[in-house]
């Protein structure tokens, strides 16, 4: 049983970590090389794209015209973002300016010979074999490839989540101390009273039996 709970706890921890890692914003300094639209097949990986009712047009074959931003990282490896509206529910970025972002990204394109570095804020993962791309949220020019702005947004969100968790914990403790424990105590007390009454009844009955038995034997 113990190992089962351990495995369950580890799986839960990994799930929470992955969820936060996917949803929280992350920043990366890159160089934009190209921006374009591409008809994209959306199948089993639909979970990693915007939900269909956010304005993205989907044709009869299940393809969407998705905006992409090609970039190169300071270490020379490529990294590709998608640029989609997020809609109103999840993830709660409420992004509806992908056209503006695309214009900005196109404006900041540069070549390897004359690089112009930008810090891209995004959420999501890049999983090449599933054709999954992180969604770019904002783009800021930075001085060079070594400049890495601090990710304030993610830290603030984590702090707020921690405070909420702490509040829920305090509320649960108060509820247990003031409602559950007294209820358990009074149920215990009631059971004890019942028990004592049963004992007394048994003693009385035994006394009567004894008297009857003694009387039978003529004492």
């Amino acid at each position: 049983m113990r190992w089962f709970l351990t495995v369950l706890g580890v799986i839960f921890g990994i799930a929470v970590f992955s969820f936060l890692d996917y949803t929280l914003p992350s920043k990366q300094t890159v160089r934009i090389t190209n921006t374009y639209n591409r008809l994209t097949d959306i199948g089993a990986n639909a979970f990693f794209y915007a939900s269909p009712d956010t304005g993205t047009v989907q044709n009869a074959q299940g393809q969407r015209d998705v905006r992409f931003i090609d970039t190169v990282r300071p270490n020379g490896k490529p990294y590709v973002y998608r640029n989609e509206d997020t809609g109103w529910i999840w993830p709660p970025y409420f992004k509806y300016d992908s056209s503006n972002l695309h214009a900005q990204a196109t404006d900041l394109r540069s070549t390897a010979a004359n690089p112009e570095w930008v810090s891209v804020t995004s959420y999501g993962w890049r999983i090449a074999w599933l054709s999954v791309y992180p969604n770019a949220i904002s783009i800021k020019p930075v001085a060079g490839p070594e400049v890495k702005p601090f990710n304030w947004a993610a830290q603030i969100i984590l702090l707020i989540l921690g405070a909420l968790l702490f509040l829920l914990w305090r509320m649960w403790n108060q509820f247990r101390e003031r409602t559950i424990d007294p209820a358990v105590r009074s149920a215990d007390a009631a059971w004890d009273r019942l028990d004592a009454r049963a004992d007394a009844a048994r003693d009385r009955a035994r006394g009567r039996m004894r008297r009857w038995w003694d009387g039978l034997r003529g004492r």
Binding site: W88, P92, Y93, F94, K95, S138, L167, R178
Partner: protein, 93 residues
């Protein structure tokens, strides 16, 4: 538009759940404080008793008008402010 209404509905539901929970929580904190106050004033009659319950009941009468109770209303305001701030930062920056 439907999506936007759904957002308003879901935010409202979550806010109301938290409002109710925090409301119960701060009332419970105040009652505990009052019980301790009674025990401190009457050390010889400490512990649960009808008099103490009556004292707590009478002291709780104006509680919903206090500043602390009214601040719970922020639960309905702050998430909306946060959403507006996120919209401005993401789309108009």
């Amino acid at each position: 538009m439907i999506a936007f209404l759904r957002l308003i509905g879901m935010v409202l539901i979550v806010e109301l759940i938290f409002y109710a929970l925090i409301w119960i929580y701060i009332r419970s904190l105040r009652r505990e404080e009052l019980e301790k106050e009674w025990d401190r004033r009457h050390p010889e009659r400490a512990g649960p008793s009808p008099e103490r319950a009556e004292f707590v009941r009478r002291s709780m009468v104006g509680f919903s008008k206090t500043l602390r109770a009214r601040l719970v209303g922020l639960v309905l305001v702050l998430p909306v402010v946060a959403i507006v701030v996120i919209i401005v930062i993401v789309n108009y920056n």
